[in-house]
């Protein structure tokens, strides 16, 4: 390792003994991890005051690399486990890291309910539009017509719009970015850390090995460029027709509601009402 790598500013937050990471060449997950660490560093947060709860999947392995308390849960259950952890210790900044299959398929019910309850969690979904870790099966986020090992003739189902879903379910902070937007992504995570309530950050994170190969993206840069080309800012999207927006990824801040009490605040209020009586 060169001197420069050894002194990388991210290392003080990392279990660098576990590097190199296991993600494939061209995977976007490392870029999201970098954004998380930058956000923590820039806000000057003590890593011991954070906890990471992750689901099953490639993105769920992120806990290995951040030198903080980490709960690696069963598939789909990151959000309810994070809910229990957060409610019992509201001082912790609890990150729930979950992939699109983990969050939107097996854990879909937990997703809408965590949003509805406005649990003060920093939920970061790495969306690669496929089940990457299990070998490239179709996900609830796979675009219509795209190929996966379980949609060999093209996906005949329509995908979820996770941000709109979170918004409808009651999330008080919702943003979507791609890994090609490291600066606004870091800013979004910083906002999520400081937000009191359920933050949902969806990050489009291309998977060249499972998604790219099956959908004729010759190499990672072709896939990355496609994701970037399909991305439209939320401002620009306002002036576009439904037809023009077909198949596009809208990026930006969808929701930022202040002054809606999070669940921990509500529970504390309830507990205090009994203190005053006694």
């Amino acid at each position: 390792m060169s001197e420069v790598v050894r002194q990388h500013p991210a290392f003080k937050y990392m279990r660098k003994q576990f590097l190199p990471h296991i993600w494939c060449p061209g995977c976007g997950n490392g870029l999201i991890l970098a954004a998380i660490i930058r956000a923590i560093d820039e806000l000057g947060i003590d890593i011991d005051e954070t906890s990471f709860v992750t689901g099953i999947g490639c993105w769920g392995l992120t806990g290995n690399y951040i030198n903080a308390d980490w709960l690696h849960t069963t598939h789909g259950r990151a959000l309810p486990m994070a809910t229990g952890l957060k409610l019992m210790n509201p001082k912790l900044k609890v990150f729930a890291l979950t992939g699109d299959g983990d969050l939107a398929a097996i854990g879909g019910n937990h997703f809408i309910h965590a949003a509805r309850r406005n649990v003060d969690l920093i939920t970061i979904c790495s969306n690669n539009m496929i089940f990457g870790r299990t070998g490239g099966q179709v996900a609830p986020t796979t675009p219509e017509g795209k190929y996966a090992s379980t949609s060999p003739y093209g996906n005949i189902e329509r995908p979820f719009d996770l941000c709109r879903l979170a918004e409808a379910a009651g999330a008080t902070h919702v943003e979507r970015w791609t890994v090609m937007h490291p600066v606004p992504l870091t800013k979004a995570i910083k906002k999520a850390i400081e937000h009191k309530g359920f933050s949902f950050i969806e990050v489009l994170s291309p998977c060249p090995v499972q998604y790219g190969r099956k959908n004729k993206f010759r190499n990672p840069s072709v896939l990355y460029n496609w994701v970037k080309e399909q991305s439209v800012s939320i401002k620009k999207a306002q002036d576009m027709s439904e037809q023009e927006l077909e198949g596009k990824f809208i990026i930006g801040e969808f929701v930022k509601k202040e002054n809606i009490p999070d669940l921990s605040a509500q529970l504390l209020k309830l507990q205090e009402s009994f203190e005053n009586k006694s």
Binding site: S51, G63, H72, R77, G84, L92
Partner: protein, 383 residues
């Protein structure tokens, strides 16, 4: 404030009051008959005790939240019945693998599937032990009265904390909905979680066991930077899924920390065993009728004995073998088609004991008269 002295409580209420006395401050659950009174009473009591009650979206989420809360340092519990218990099985395995103390109450009702929602059964005896995939041991306790529901709920929390394991408290529709007078002593023995020493923070190995086979449990947020990995992991918490020796060593430790402590864990009750020609074996609600039937048999001059499993798992092999050595016949009475029978036969068959069976399903418990008739039939057989 916990209640004490003489109390007139429903079984499900007794579980709640005992949980509070044991230090439980987190409850997550989902409504289900016949366990709902536990959630309803928790909803009233938890905020009064500075605890957390949350009704989750399903049973998967309920046990998930309990596991999360346990890592935040809480004594935590959930309660359910058969269909919900089925949904919890994967996370029971997670609690075993991550050595997360928690208590899961299963108020048994008739199955399979939705079955008879409001009727009692003892159909979950096997599921409580074998429900999750893979090889594991855990602790399952099955009281038979409101008093014992109180006492054993406290014991369930104590064992969960001591052995860092999920503990299943089996109940059934009959004892859960029954009201009885109970006595709650002023002082109770409460076991607290074994914590790592702050001075060990720098080089803490979260999965390195002490001599008792149990590692101390760090609390999230205390700076120990624990890796709680539900995949096969080494002492640091790092997963390694290809090392057969590591997996074997981990699973054997998880099993042996329970099996090697059977003397501390396993509780049974025996009455009229000294001269018994036939011993009625039962557990839970059925044992109440069984004891009555044994007393009726004694009045008729039949040398009947009574043996009850309080701990269902790990199974009371040693205690049952002792009974088998002093009797010729056993009668297993249970509200299923033969779950307890299978286990009793496994243990006592080598001792030449003839085992009769009195199963009953459909929701109604055995009357003492029914058990007495089976006792008489069994005693008169082959004579």
């Amino acid at each position: 404030m916990r209640i004490s002295g003489r109390q007139f409580l429903q079984g499900n209420e007794a579980v709640v009051e005992a949980a509070i006395a044991a230090g439980c401050r987190f409850f997550a659950g989902y409504p289900i008959t016949p366990a709902s009174e536990i959630a309803e009473t928790m909803a009233i009591r938890m905020p009064q005790e500075k605890g957390i009650f949350i009704q989750m979206e399903d049973e998967l989420a309920s046990l998930s939240a309990v596991i999360g809360a346990s890592w935040a340092g809480a004594k935590a519990m959930t309660a359910t019945s058969g269909p919900g218990f089925s949904l919890m099985q994967e996370n029971i395995g997670m609690a075993v693998m991550t050595e997360t103390p928690c208590v899961i109450v299963d108020v048994q009702r008739s199955g399979p599937s939705s079955g008879q929602a409001t009727r009692a059964a003892q159909g979950d005896l096997m599921q409580a032990k074998w429900g999750s995939h893979g090889d594991y041991e855990l602790i399952v306790i099955y009281p038979n009265s409101v008093q014992e529901l109180y006492d054993k709920t406290i014991e369930a929390f104590n064992l969960a904390e001591k052995y860092r394991t999920p503990v299943i408290l089996l109940s059934d529709e009959i004892i859960a909905h029954m009201r009885e007078n109970i006595y709650i002593p002023e002082t109770l023995d409460i076991i607290e979680r074994k914590r790592p020493r702050p001075e060990d923070k720098e080089h803490f190995l979260p999965w390195k066991p002490d001599d008792d086979g149990i590692p101390p449990m760090a609390k999230f947020g205390d700076g120990f930077k624990v890796m709680v990995e539900n995949n096969t992991h080494d002492a640091t918490g790092r997963t390694n899924q290809t090392d057969a020796a590591l997996h074997t060593q981990l699973i054997n430790r998880l099993c042996n920390k329970i099996l090697n402590a059977k003397k501390d864990i396993v509780k049974t009750e025996g009455l009229f065993l000294d001269d018994a020609e036939l011993v009625v074996v039962s557990c839970g609600c059925v044992s109440r009728s069984a004891l009555e039937a044994v007393k009726m048999a004694r009045q008729k001059g039949i040398k009947a004995g009574y043996f009850r499993l309080i701990t269902i798992w790990p199974f009371a092999d040693e205690q049952l073998i002792e009974v088998a050595g002093a009797t010729k016949k056993m009668l297993v009475a249970e509200m299923n088609t033969g779950k307890l029978l299978r286990e009793v036969k496994r243990v006592v068959d080598p001792y030449g004991v003839q085992v009769n069976h009195l199963p009953k399903i459909g929701g109604a418990y055995h009357t003492p008269g029914e058990i007495l008739a089976s006792i008489e039939k069994a005693v008169n057989e082959n004579e």
